[in-house]
Point group: C2
Chain length 299, copies 2
C-alpha cells in the first residue's frame, strides 16, 4: 500500500494489536468440556484481519477524549460481532466458503455445529461486554450502546442484508436495491462503529450525525472496493476464494456499474465522507486518512 | 392435566395470549425483499408453546407491582431467545429435527440459511427490545436486564450447555456433569426469566436470590421431566420426535438415574423450589403452582 500514510499504518497496527489482546483476555479457555466452543471463538476472533471497525470506534472515541480502556472494550465487542457474522456467512448453507484470512473457515477447522454455536456465543458475548459496568459508569451510555448495536445488526441491518444477499442468487436486484442491501449488510455495523465512539464520548447530536454520515459513505465505498477486489484480486492477496459472487451471478456494484464507474463512485464517496468530518478539524485526521485507505487497499 | 390448578391454567393461558400478541406486534412484515427472514421469525415465535419463561417473568414481576406493559416486553424478549435456541438446535448440523410443536421445523419449512439467519435475528432483537426506553425508564434496569440475559445464554450458559450436549453424543458424562450441562442449557434462561421480574421490580437482594434459587430448582426439575417425557411420551403428545436422546445414546437423567429416581428427584426439587418462595407469602401462589405443573405435565 504505497500511498498509505505511515501515521495511519502505525495507528491501525497499534489498535489491531490492542484489540487482539482485549479479545484474547475476553475469551479464555477454562478446562471445562465445552472448551471446544471457546477454541472455535478464539480461532475466529484471534485470526487477524484489518480490524477496521475497532479502528473506527477507537479513533472516533479518541476525538472526544474517551478513556482507551473503555473504547477498547466496545471495539472488541464490535469485532466479536463482525467475526460472528463471518463464521455464520461462511457456513455450507450460506456462502459455503472453505477458507478465510488464508486459513480453513471455522466449520472446516471444527465442524458445522461448533461453528453455529461459536457464532451465537460471540454475538451474545458482545452484548455482555457492552452492558457490563466496566464499559461505562453511566448506564444510559451502556443501554445506548446495546440499542445501537442491536439495531445495526438485526433484521433491519446486517442480518436482513445477509438475507437479501442469499436471495440475490435467484433475484435480480437493481442499483437501488443493491445499495440498500450493502448498506444493511456491511454499512450499518461500520456506521455503528463510529457512532459508538460518539456515544462513549457523549458527543453532541450534530457531532454524532456527522460521524454517521461519514461512516455511511465510508461503508458504501468499502463495499464497492470489496466487490472490485472480488473481481480483480487473487486468492493469495485476499486470503479467501475470489470471484464467487461473479460465479453465483449475484448482482454487485461491479456487475451493475462496471469496474471503472465502481471505482470512480467509491472515490467520490470517500471524498464526501472526509468532508463530513470538517466540523472536527484536525482531530479527525486519522478518520480522514482511513477513508483514503479504504479505496486504495489491495485486500 | 387433571391436577393442574384451574387458576394457574387460566393465568398461563392469559399470559400465553398476551405474549403471542406482543411478539406479533414486534415482528411485522414490511413488504421488503428480506421479508422471508421475518416470515421465518414469525413462524418460529408465533407457533404456540407453553410460554413457560414468559409466565415466570410476568408472574415474578407482578409480585413487585411492575407495569404489565413492561414485563410483557421482557417476557417477549425472553421468548425470542428461547425460539432462537430451538431454531438453531433443530438444524441438521445440530439435533437434526424435522418437526417441532407438531409442525415442520424452520429449516424444513424454509431452508437452512433462512433458519440460521432467523435465529440470529431473534437473538439480536431480544437485546434491542430490552435496551429500548419503553422497557424501563431507568437505564440501569435496562443495562441489568441485558447483562443478565447475555450471561444466561452465552458460553457460560445456554450456548455452552448446547455445546456440551453435542459432545454428549461421543463423551460419557456422569451425573454431576449432566446436571451442570442441563443447568447451563436450560436452567440459566429459566432462572433469568424469574430474575428479570425482580430486576424490573427493583427487588431487594434477598428477594432476587430467593427467586434465583426457586428458578434453579424449577429448571432442573423441568429438565428431568423433559428427559422422562422423551422416554415415556408419544410424538403426538410432544409435537416432536421422541427417544432421540436414547437413540443417540446420550446420557440423560433417565439413563443415569432410571425413571423412578428421576421422577422422585424432580418432585423433591419442585418441593424445594416452592419452599424458596416462603418470604413472598401468598403473593407467590402462581409460582408455587407452576412448580407443581412442571412435574405433572404430560408434554
Amino acid at each position: 500500500m504505497p500511498s498509505l500514510h505511515p501515521q495511519l499504518k502505525d495507528a491501525m497496527g497499534e489498535i489491531a494489536k490492542e484489540v487482539h489482546n482485549e479479545l484474547d483476555g475476553f475469551i479464555p479457555l477454562t478446562g471445562n468440556p465445552e472448551d471446544r466452543l471457546y477454541e472455535a471463538m478464539r480461532y475466529s476472533a484471534l485470526s487477524g484481519g484489518k480490524r477496521l471497525r475497532p479502528f473506527l470506534c477507537i479513533s472516533a472515541a479518541n476525538m472526544f477524549g474517551v478513556d482507551p480502556s473503555r473504547s477498547r472494550r466496545v471495539a472488541a465487542a464490535i469485532e466479536m460481532v463482525h467475526c460472528y457474522s463471518l463464521v455464520h456467512d461462511d457456513l455450507p448453507a450460506m456462502d459455503n466458503s472453505d477458507t478465510r484470512r488464508g486459513k480453513p473457515t471455522v466449520h472446516k477447522a471444527f465442524d458445522e455445529a461448533t461453528a453455529i454455536l461459536a457464532g451465537d456465543a460471540l454475538l451474545t458475548y458482545a452484548f455482555e461486554v457492552l452492558s457490563n459496568n466496566a464499559t461505562h459508569d453511566d448506564p444510559h451510555v451502556r443501554a445506548q450502546l446495546v440499542l445501537g448495536l442491536a439495531r445495526a445488526i438485526g433484521g433491519n441491518g446486517m442480518v436482513g442484508g445477509q438475507m437479501m444477499d442469499m436471495l440475490a442468487q435467484t433475484t435480480e436486484f437493481d442499483i437501488g436495491q443493491t445499495t440498500r442491501l450493502q448498506r444493511m449488510k456491511t454499512g450499518e455495523l461500520i456506521a455503528f462503529s463510529c457512532e459508538a465512539g460518539a456515544i462513549l464520548g457523549k458527543a453532541t447530536e450534530q457531532q454524532r450525525l456527522a460521524l454517521r454520515k461519514y461512516a455511511h459513505d465510508l461503508g458504501l465505498a468499502f463495499q464497492m472496493i470489496d466487490d472490485l477486489l472480488d473481481v480483480e484480486g487473487t486468492p493469495e492477496e485476499m486470503g479467501k476464494p475470489v470471484r464467487k459472487d461473479h460465479a453465483a451471478k449475484k448482482a454487485t456494484f461491479v456487475t451493475i456499474l462496471g469496474p471503472e464507474r465502481t471505482r470512480a463512485q467509491a472515490e467520490m464517496l470517500a471524498a464526501q465522507a472526509r468532508r463530513h468530518l470538517e466540523i472536527f478539524e484536525s482531530r479527525a485526521q486519522l478518520l480522514r486518512d482511513v477513508a483514503q485507505f479504504v479505496v486504495e487497499r489491495r485486500s
